[in-house]
Symmetry: C2
């Protein structure tokens, strides 16, 4: 997605060979017009998958997931990172390790919001080690629902997440695939459309 890659080039900050900071338009300050374009693009790429619901993880996934759900005309559901006092239903949970923050957290969804047989599109802002996507997929399976696809805004293709999700047979669509952050420069995967 060319508009996204252009914003990564212009406003992304390479903090290390592992970490790209995009807090100017994606995960702290958010560009709503770009999110809308991202939503339309995910809806286009997964149009034939019969999506019933979009699932993401708070907080950075909410903006792209919401716009995707709007474009698809379905509800969006975001997993919570910790149990909140009003989330008192039966919970579906998974453990997710964040390599960035170096903490394991429990993510949870109220069971009544995921029905058996529903076709769920998982959307997240980043794919690195794949922990968040795998945790969300585990929750979908616990509900007896199906993972109909995984939509990623920015994939760090040099980290193992994409390979793992491919190996498990998931249909993954990433809007920007980063081959390397070496030398402080963002290099995209050549084949990326």
């Amino acid at each position: 997605m060319e508009q996204l890659k252009q914003m990564i080039r212009e406003q992304g900050i390479v903090l290390s060979e592992q970490v790209l900071k995009v807090d100017a338009f994606l995960n702290h300050q958010v560009d709503p017009r770009l999110m809308q374009q991202i939503g339309v693009e995910f809806a286009r790429r997964f149009a034939e998958r019969g999506i019933d619901k979009v699932l993401t993880l708070e907080a950075s996934g909410i903006a792209p997931a919401l716009m995707t759900a709007l474009a698809l005309g379905v509800p969006m559901l975001f997993a919570r990172k910790q149990q909140s006092l009003t989330l008192t239903d039966d919970l579906l949970t998974a453990r997710v390790y964040s390599f960035t923050k170096q903490v394991e957290s429990r993510i949870a969804v109220a069971a009544r919001h995921l029905a058996p047989g529903e076709r769920v599109l998982i959307v997240d802002d980043f794919l690195a080690h794949g922990q968040a996507a795998l945790g969300l997929a585990a929750i979908v399976r616990q509900a007896g629902a199906q993972v109909a696809g995984i939509g990623i805004v920015i994939e760090k293709s040099f980290q193992p997440g994409r390979g793992e999700l491919d190996r498990l047979g998931y249909r993954v669509e990433s809007l920007a695939r980063i081959a390397s952050l070496e030398g402080g420069t963002v290099r995209f995967v050549d084949a990326d459309a």
Copy 2:
């Protein structure tokens, strides 16, 4: 806002005289079409305020704030509840006590995303004791920016937040104002348009 009040009546769950659960369409599962309507309505109500940016607090504020920012054609910024590893800038912070969760948390915004003189619209999903709105307003003032208004999706008018914000002179617009949750029934403020 009639559509919102109708969804509160139909899908809201009164957990106690203090707590209304709206996790079917606002703060867990999210109705993107309703969020879009909410965004358009806030944009209409604050159209004359010269808004430069919409500010909210993760995670539940993100959906209505994003749609408001889209309708206004400005960026959205969400405060973080804890310092994240990639949020390494100079931070503007405030302490916010959650009566629901009974914990105090530190909320933070990277200083470079709020400029002196900017006119900021604060948007949040709920107004109860006003702690989140007051914390966000404190951050805006630290930046030398101005609070141009406060947009609330659901106001619990029987709790002290609204009165406190009015007393401080803020322009507050709440889309649904709840007078009471007594007897397990949602009663709206009569004057509510």
